[in-house]
């Protein structure tokens, strides 16, 4: 289902934005994630106010904007944790507005959290294994009786978990409890965990927050490795250096809707973006 097919429900301005981007690409690629006129109200507060954008398979996008612009609220709507007031969200052609977060993950949309939410009482390996829940066939009797299928599945799970942990560059003991890890490592494992759910697209909510310089370099390399696997990445970030470095496209949010959507250079020069950030130096030096 093409992005164009959705335009009947989109305001003229938004249609122009999407069409612009498609034209820039020069190919009629279908968006994997389509957000259409998303609105979310809490009482009198409009957290998200008509947000529209597309994310294509295998690209790295950043979503930036001043604090309170609605970025995490939008993420929460997309991943099913908040129910939007109106609008539509399509993933892989299906509307995911009314779906449970777990169903959305099963469709291939994974996420990490702004404040790393590891399962603190579980080991690092078990943390990664939880994400494989939906992809394992193992029933209660297998678990109780330790059938061959149980052993096979568990062995494979450990193998895969180790693979993902190595992929993200985790180098400590895998039997450590998540609460015993330093912050940077927790972030790493959280990404490994999200990857283990076999996503087509990964939403990372401020993955660089609290990381030091070398950790950020690792993160950049990791995001590129993820993209090379064919997984699209959508980042919320405040670190401008990182954003400009890694993104193929940048979407800028303010007051709950997108005010710019283009390449890093385009966005950097966009007068509306500059105005939104006027006086506020939020990015750290890369």
């Amino acid at each position: 289902m093409s992005a164009e097919g959705q335009e009947s429900s989109v305001a003229a301005v938004d249609a122009a934005t999407t069409a612009d981007v498609d034209r820039a690409r020069g190919d009629g690629r279908t968006a994997l994630l389509s957000v259409r006129d998303l609105r979310l109200r809490f009482g009198g507060v409009k957290a998200v106010d008509g947000l529209t954008f597309d994310a294509y398979p295998g690209e790295i996008i950043s979503v930036i904007g001043p604090n309170g612009a609605g970025k995490t609220s939008a993420f929460n709507c997309i991943t099913g944790f908040y129910r939007p007031t109106s609008g539509d969200i399509l993933f892989d052609g299906e509307s995911i507005i009314r779906k449970l977060p777990s169903s959305i993950v099963k469709l291939g949309l994974g996420r990490t959290f702004q404040n790393v939410r590891m399962f603190r009482e579980m080991t690092v390996v078990d943390n990664v294994k939880t994400a494989m829940h939906a992809r394992i066939s193992q029933n209660v009797f297998d678990a109780i009786l330790h059938t061959p299928r149980y052993r096979r599945v568990e062995r494979q799970c450990v193998e895969d978990a180790r693979g993902w942990l190595d992929f993200v560059g985790y180098s400590l003991d895998e039997d450590l409890l998540a609460s015993q890890l330093p912050y940077g490592e927790q972030r790493r494992v959280e990404i490994a965990r999200a990857l283990a759910s076999q996503p087509k697209m990964l939403l990372l909510d401020e993955p660089a927050a609290g990381l030091n310089h070398s950790e950020k370099q690792d993160l950049i390399a990791l995001i590129r490795r993820i993209r090379d696997l064919g997984i699209g990445v959508v980042l919320i970030e405040h670190d401008m250096g990182l954003v400009m470095n890694i993104s193929e496209r940048v979407i800028v949010l303010n007051f709950g809707r997108e005010i710019a959507d283009g390449t890093p250079d385009e966005v950097r020069r966009n007068p509306q973006v500059i105005e939104a950030y006027l006086g506020a130096d939020e990015g750290e030096e890369s």
Binding site: F42, G80, F81, Y82, R83, L100, P101
Partner: protein
Amino acid sequence: MLQLVVDGLFVGSFYALVALGYSMVYGIIKLLNFAHGDVYMVGAFAGFLLFSTVTGLVASGGLMSLLLVLLVAMILTGLLGVFVERVAYRPLRGSPRLAVLITAVGVSFILEYGVRQIMGPNPRVYPVRLTGETFNLLGARITLPQLILFAVAGLLMVALNFLVMRSRDGRAMRAIALDPQAAKLMGVNVDRVISRTFFIGSALAGAAGVMAGAYYGTVDFLMGFVIGLKAFTAAVIGGIGNLYGAMLGGILLGLLESFGTAFLGGEWRDVFSFACLILFLSLRPTGILGARVVERM
């Protein structure tokens, strides 16, 4: 039928008083104080001790003595509530939900079996029994004690309403209920307001306890258990966190019970109440007056 209404309203006013404490505490720190029903029980016993041991004015058994004992018992139970919050709940404020709930169960046990140790396992007879003439109101019988207790309960609720709506404390409570962080930034001493909330809620429950003891005649260490559940039911029906909801829910539950037992028989009274609870939670968890919370999946 009017008799059923009168009886229901009467019982309902007890439920309402206890439900208010539940609702207030839940509104402010999102905790269902499992031990709240036992505070009611402690109030009843406090009244029992006061009536039994203090002679003179009290021995007269009249209205004045009741009010005096009521006041003292309310203060005592209020202080108990503050103590429990300080010692058992405040240290766990950042802890997982489960830990606080389990602690509340523990506190409930301590109160119940502590009182049992001190006062014995058998029901104790209240030294003061309210008696009075029976009036005939449009075909329904209502006694003077009932009227008095109605009045006291009503007065307490009006006083509470005044306190919450008008006073600085009340505004602070509502502020914390809406947004604890913002309230702190506005200079509200969150700890103190929470303590006051516990004081008021527990005092109300204590008042209900004394009145129940004086009206029904006996008290035992487990009398708070069922009341606690019913008060929770009332708070849920009315909309938990909402004070008017607690009052409404209490009255409504009393009426529902009254009519329910008329049809099903007295032994099904509690089952009927709990069934109401489950029904409401399944169909309308926010209660009648409850606010619409942002929909989470």
